[in-house]
Amino acid sequence: MAITHDTGSILQVRRAKPRPVHGSVSSSAVKSRVYLAMMAFAFVYLMIGGRLVLLAEMDETQSPALMSAQDSVAASRPDLLDRNGEILATDIKTASLYAEPRRVQDVDETVEGLTSVLPDLDAAMVRRRLESRAGFAWLKRELTPDQANQIHNLGLPGIKFLPENKRFYPGGPTAGHIVGSVNVDNQGLTGIEKYIDDEWLADLQKFGFASDRPMEPVRLSVDLRVQHVVRDELVKAMERYQAIAAIGIVLDAKTGEVVAMSSLPDYDPNDRSEALDKNRLNRATGGVYEMGSVFKTFTAAMALDSGKVSINDSFDASRPIRAGGRTINDFHGKNRILSVPEIFIYSSNIGTAKMMLATGIDKQQEFLGRLGFLERPHTELPENAAPLLPPKWSELAAMTISFGHGISVTPMQTAVAAAALVNGGTLLPPTFFPRSSDKVKALGKRVVSEETSRIMRYLFRLNVLSGSGRNADVPGYTVGGKTGTAEKVENGVYVSNKRRNSFLSAFPMDDPRYVVLVVVDEPKPEKGKYGATAGLNAAPTVGAIIRRAAPMLGVMPRFSDGEQPIEINY
């Protein structure tokens, strides 16, 4: 009680407490404090003012959707050139139309204006997008310059253009399967376009280095002129023989470069919707087929290379072989003993099977593996089909495989293996890019001996001179080749009136520079002719291709003495 009295209230206590005694404050100190405060305030106001100026000067921040759209559309791609520098694919600038719905003042007027220029524009969709109040909305990609100009002249607020790179393929479908195609955002979907994306372009774009700068063009090994010749001849062949599909490959036998590759029906890469049609797939690398008698080439090479069969040997082809409940017969049998070259040029199934049996079934499997027939081939194209092999490499399977049935491989694999057989025995993986001679040396893998290769060249030439390939001959170019007429399987049974015909050839046969493979699917007999075997359709197509393409490829025709008439007018 006494204590409370003494101290009183807390306030009183405080008041009662003696104030701390400071020294007297001098006037200069007061001044400096005031200045300090003034400076602090001035600093703050300056900051605010400066920020206001900055904000006033700054462009309005773009909506994130617009920014990401700009990033993706600006993506440029390198030009694709053929081996002579002709353009296969290039970028051209187009304008794409977008809206900033927040800025659109009159939706009705805008929709009306746009549909007056672009009648195919979905008005309801545009209206919905414009009313969304979003920062960014695509309206139409890739306008023509004329349309862009008209819309620009309408002067609609909130409607803007974004310059875009559009991929343009001047050749249209000519090299469609090789160059491939891109989607609307210029990303590769198929062909070399996809390969470039996978290899380096996608990474470059991801880190923003590919936005809009011009890039080094990419050169391919394809020759546009030869590519056109191949495609043109295939189109004609499909028309003449009413075939449902056709494949043509021209391969440099010494380097493995693909000079031309065409698969019909094909698509125009400028028209994106066509690329997805299943019937237009790339059959040359993306389809597997029983190549038929063409495979006898590889059986003959295997038998000769093993040393167990020599070119002077003979086999009895007078009676059919029975194995595993099946009978192997000849298509147009000679019913007599045939020598190895005769087996080859008469395309005897019995003789070929016996040649294989003389060499050995394991040896056959090993040899086909060496030529790359047992695994998925590797090319730069994304479409590479794996071969269809027999479930069990039995005696019957081995015998049918020896003449090209019971194993399905891609035409490209076949051409590559044939190149190895004729070029001196070196297997080179195919490529769509130019290959230097150093690289050829490094990549080359010996699969057969020089001597076997020499005999194969002789057999190829012999078959054109006096066998089934006569129609492929072009005087001066010493064409050699092997026909293949394979019956197609329908519902598990071979049908005799549906065939897949092929002709595997090389020229000039004394030192082959190019391998040409043509496959014609389901050809019908030509008008006024009976029969539709490979010698009647695939072989003349190859002949026509070589006749037109060889001068372009720089292969000089050679005639033995006195054979060549020189017509000269001075």
């Binding site: 343009f168 060889a550 020189i566």
Partner: protein, 118 residues
Amino acid sequence: MGRYLNILFVLAVVIGAAAVYDMKLAAKKSASRVAELQQQIDEERESIRMLKAEWSALNQPERLQHLVERYNSYLQLQPLEVDQIISPEDLPVRPVQLKPVGGSDPMGGYAGTSQVIR
């Protein structure tokens, strides 16, 4: 003395400021010119691309073949035959086609009939 020095400095500052302003203006002008030229270059490059694309579209073998087929009644072109290809070395020597001028015996039968004795 000090006053003159001051005036001098003030003058120097004014002149310096004017010079800097002028330079800045010139730099700005140059920069905008550079930007303009850059844009022109880009436009030129773009039009070169366009023209190249057009050139290759017009020169497509398919298109040319089509045109030749359509106008061949006028052009009279034929496919190249194999025996028309020959290297320059294989051509026979062009025959000399110099006929004696003034009859078969222009020298009056005198010159060239007997051996020249040196």
